[in-house]
């Protein structure tokens, strides 16, 4: 989960001015997302009418590709940047609304399975990334940041850990660049692997949620496979996000014990500060849906609102990815991140295949 660049780019001041500053970028997100929907609907028809062989490309991929094209050619003009940075805000609102599509019993059942898999994934990923960082001679705090970023939830986890362990800005910059670049690659590789292995929607969704680091990319990688896979990717990733506080706390204790970070005061307050609050919103909406607070038609409307919010997110994923900027951040952290991510993807795929056999997904 990446921390919000969202409204955060706008300095406090006149609320009306803050609102106006994000409007152009939000409109750009909406335009790119909607163009993705139009392309999905019309390119296939056009190709069929002209007897061309053309793969069916979903709106998710169109929106990401359009964003990538803009970001890596003409760039995102200054006037749009504050609004484009709101994509994380839409992601979180979309996740909360998605809660209406899950009955609480399903959340608890799926969440419990996910929690067990997430626990194994986090332990394995931290151990492996720590080993890799040492083998490549990376600075210990950079290794910690890469381990947290790949084990828990990408950029947000790195930012939270940087503050807690007092790592250098440069270290977290390297770690963020590596995680973002690898997240972009996962959008193209994960669906291919899933289709090659004929994974079910359930297995693929859980795998994406376990192995893709940023929440936006995990949701996109899931949605690129199918709607059902997208739902499960978000649920699994949300379970992973919920554990961020515990992992950051453990690292804070570790570095404080070495005298290289401040001691943690109240553990409960620390955990609450790091806990992603949108997870509570997701659970609350799910509880309301379970209690039949919404009619079937209303749940359909909330699900569509969630889709629109995700559409803005997917456009933002493409727009914020600039390969030139990412490539400037150094080869070693990227190499460690890439080797680690491939290993974690393989490890979590094995976990998911084993769980599929046990639970009959």
């Amino acid at each position: 989960m990446a921390s919000s660049m969202a409204i955060s780019q706008v300095r406090p001041g006149n609320p009306a001015l803050q609102f106006l500053k994000v409007v152009p970028g939000v409109l750009l997100l909406a335009a790119i997302g909607y163009a993705g929907k139009l392309l999905e609907a019309n390119v296939g028809k056009y190709a069929k009418a002209h007897h061309w062989t053309f793969p069916n490309i979903e709106y998710v991929l169109w929106a990401i590709l359009l964003g990538l094209m803009i970001s890596n050619t003409v760039g995102v003009p200054e006037i749009f940047r504050a609004g484009v940075a709101t994509y994380e805000f839409w992601l979180k609102a979309g996740i909360v609304l998605l809660g209406s599509r899950f009955l609480l019993g399903d959340v608890l059942k799926l969440g419990a399975t996910s929690l067990a898999l997430v626990g194994i994934e986090i332990a394995g990923a931290i151990a492996f990334m720590t080993f890799l960082g040492r083998a490549f001679g990376l600075k210990p705090k950079l290794t910690s940041l890469l381990a947290v970023g790949s084990a828990v939830c990408g950029v947000s986890a790195i930012i939270a850990t940087q503050g807690a362990i007092e790592a250098d800005d440069e270290d977290s910059s390297f770690a963020i660049a590596a995680i973002l670049a690898l997240g972009a690659l996962s959008l193209f590789t994960f669906p291919l692997i899933g289709h090659t292995l004929h994974l079910t929607d359930h297995a693929y969704g859980v795998w994406s949620g376990l192995a893709v680091d940023n929440t936006a990319e995990a949701a996109a990688a899931g949605a690129l496979y199918s709607d059902a896979a997208g739902k499960l990717a978000v649920l699994t990733k949300t379970t992973r996000n919920a554990l961020i506080g515990f992992v950051v706390l453990a690292y804070a204790f570790y570095w404080a014990s070495k005298g290289q970070a401040q001691a943690v005061g109240s553990k409960a307050r620390f955990l609450w500060q790091k806990f992603p609050k949108f997870v509570l919103g997701f659970l609350l909406i799910s509880t309301l849906a379970t209690a039949a607070f919404f009619s079937k038609a209303q749940i359909g409307a909330l699900a569509n609102l969630s889709r629109w919010a995700f559409l803005l997110t997917f456009a933002g994923v493409g727009l914020r990815t600039n390969f030139k900027v990412l490539s400037k951040q150094g080869l070693k952290p990227f190499a460690v991140g890439a080797i680690g991510e491939v290993a974690i993807a393989g490890f979590t795929l094995g976990l998911v295949l084993a769980a599929q056999r046990i639970f009959g997904w």
């Binding site: 921390s3 919000s4 949108f278 038609a297 889709r307 629109w308």
Partner: protein, 44 residues
Amino acid sequence: MSEQEQAVRSPVKPHGFSIDAWAVLLAFALAALVRVGVFKHIPW
């Protein structure tokens, strides 16, 4: 460091709320509007 990364690094909480809290508030406001019938049908 890119401008985007700098923005991530220095999150400003507008009006004392985190971005998470704003996202939850927006989602609940929309859910309330759907519940009371202001939005009856959301097309996709």
